[in-house]
């Protein structure tokens, strides 16, 4: 019996790979405020995975096609003036989920598998799943490294990027498709619906600890892998669904990071009130430097 024949061994390797993948791409999701878009992607992937299962093709292909359509659709919507991209994304989100649920209902005896698409089924991952995740991790890491400068410039200064000759629309598609591939790849580990937590939570937590992109990226990967391993351990010891415990651990990491950032922020705010100026003027601090003390708030 080889080491890979043990389901827990395979699950351990899968959470390490998926955690690293989620953390890596999550940094882009958080910096570009694409959490809501990623949420829509995860829901759109669901009907694709269900349809692939019904037809009998690889689930990743089904999810990738469905999510790819959504990714390109959102990219097109956001380029059009006067369109409320957030509203359209929201509608696509619930429509995708409804389509998946409808497809599930057409198949008798299918509902047991439903939860594995939604929240993952880490103990059933195959060595093929592991190989796929490993290859996708290598590809995504390479893409993010090679495209680091264009992605940084487009995210930070869109007009400046255009003036420098970059095709910002094309770079948006590169990023959206990268996110989509990650979403589809982590489905066996945490399912379509919980994929968001493994992508957004580690990066959002890391952002609260540092202002430096390499540090944020490294921390996001560590948080992602750590959440996966601790979640898997909790799952196997207390018989909790692995996808759920991984998501809850990732959320806990974010909550602790946020609390810690508030605790670090409070003393600097108190120090700001000089002892001599007893009645501090509310809402007025020393100009630009006030932003320095404020922790970065990650919003969608």
């Amino acid at each position: 019996m080889s080491w890979w024949d043990d389901a827990l061994h395979r699950a351990t390797v899968e959470v390490i790979l998926a955690g690293a993948l989620g953390g890596l791409v999550g940094v882009q999701v958080v910096l570009r405020r694409l959490s809501f878009f990623t949420m829509a992607l995860t829901h759109a992937t669901f009907p694709g995975v269900v349809a692939a299962s019904i037809i009998g093709v690889n689930l990743l292909i089904g999810g990738a096609v469905a999510g790819g359509i959504i990714a390109l659709g959102v990219a097109a919507l956001s380029r059009r003036r006067g369109q409320d991209a957030a509203a359209a994304t929201g509608v696509l989100l619930s429509a995708g989920f409804a389509l998946g649920a409808g497809l599930v209902a057409t198949q008798s005896g299918f509902s047991r598998d439903l939860s594995s698409f939604l929240v993952g089924s880490i103990l059933t991952v195959s060595t093929t799943d592991l190989a796929t995740t490993a290859v996708v991790l290598a590809v995504v890491a390479t893409v993010l490294l090679v495209c680091a400068r264009p992605l940084l410039l487009v995210g930070f200064d869109r007009t400046g990027a255009q003036a420098a000759g970059l095709r910002t629309g094309a770079w948006d598609i590169v990023l959206l498709l990268t996110i989509e591939i990650v979403v589809v790849t982590v489905v066996p580990a945490v399912g379509t619906i919980l994929a968001l937590s493994l992508i957004v939570a580690p990066a959002a937590a890391a952002r609260l600890w540092s202002d430096r992109l390499p540090v944020i990226t490294a921390m996001a990967v560590v948080f992602g892998v750590g959440s996966g391993l601790v979640g898997l351990w909790v799952s196997s010891h207390w018989n909790v669904a692995a996808g759920a415990s991984i998501s809850l651990i990732a959320t806990a990491v974010l909550a602790v990071s946020w609390l810690s950032s508030r605790l670090r922020w409070l003393p600097t705010q108190l120090r700001r009130i000089p002892a001599s100026a007893a009645p501090a003027v509310p809402g007025r601090s020393d100009g630009g430097s006030s932003a320095a003390a404020r922790p970065a708030v990650v919003t969608q």
Partner: protein, 242 residues
């Protein structure tokens, strides 16, 4: 020597609708041009047309000897700071390094010469001591200076600045003006938009008065007159102190 910027009867606008018409400009190397006009006059649109981001609908336009579309990426650009994402985790030094990307290439690592150019550019705008600070933690004026340093690091022959003195404190204003004078002295052609007439008079060799169309172009003494300003700004009345 070729003009840095030459516009003959140019109209610019979006989706086929002109925003600004009758633009005639001729800017040589080392000259500075101030675009003056009220909000919505088409100043930013004109700048973006030079950058190749807004189409030229009529007339002939030449930027650094070629069409604006062909010159895309060649001219330097300093955007208004509020168009940038202040939450982004980039240091002042990293922002200035962005100006070297064209020189380095998008994928190759930065060389010692690039790091030296970045340090010099930050020094030129008086922010050498803030290199490691996160861009979003700097004051509005300091952010504007970092963006100017980014443009300086790219060593462009033509530099366009969109309202570089908007919301800028006196110290930063002085630093920016000093750096701009150094640039023109070194032969860079400058185009800056402003609604501050004093800035236009102090910094520019040429002033272009715009409001939907070009109303006047020439040296500040000839263009920043009450009569010309009243013509460009309309009959709402112009209260100026020159």
């Amino acid at each position: 020597m070729d003009s840095a910027l030459q516009y003959d009867g140019v109209s610019v606008g979006y989706h086929g609708t002109p925003v600004l018409t009758h633009v005639d400009l001729d800017l040589a190397a080392g000259q500075s041009l101030a675009l003056v006009g009220p909000n919505g006059a088409g100043k930013s649109t004109l700048i973006k047309s030079v950058l190749g981001l807004v189409p030229v609908l009529g007339g002939t336009a030449s930027v650094l000897g070629v069409s604006p579309a062909a010159a895309r990426g060649l001219a330097g650009y300093v955007p208004q700071t509020d168009t940038l994402d202040a939450d982004f985790p980039v240091s002042a030094r990293q922002v200035v390094m962005m100006g070297r990307y064209r020189e380095i290439g998008w994928w190759r690592p930065a060389r010692a010469a690039d790091r030296r150019a970045v340090a010099e550019a930050l020094d030129r705008v008086g922010l050498a001591d803030r290199a490691g600070h996160r861009f979003g933690t700097l004051s509005g004026g300091q952010r504007q200076r970092v963006l100017l340093a980014r443009a300086i690091a790219a060593e462009p022959r033509l530099l366009l600045l969109d309202e570089p003195f908007n919301g800028v404190d006196a110290v930063s204003q002085e630093a920016i003006a000093g750096a701009l004078r150094q640039l023109t002295a070194a032969g860079t052609a400058l185009v800056l938009s402003t609604h501050d007439l004093a800035v236009a008079r102090d910094l520019a060799d040429l002033v272009c008065l715009v409001n939907g169309r070009q109303w006047a172009v020439g040296p500040p003494a000839e263009t920043l007159t009450v009569a010309k300003l009243r013509e460009a700004y309309g009959d709402r009345g112009v209260l100026v102190e020159l």
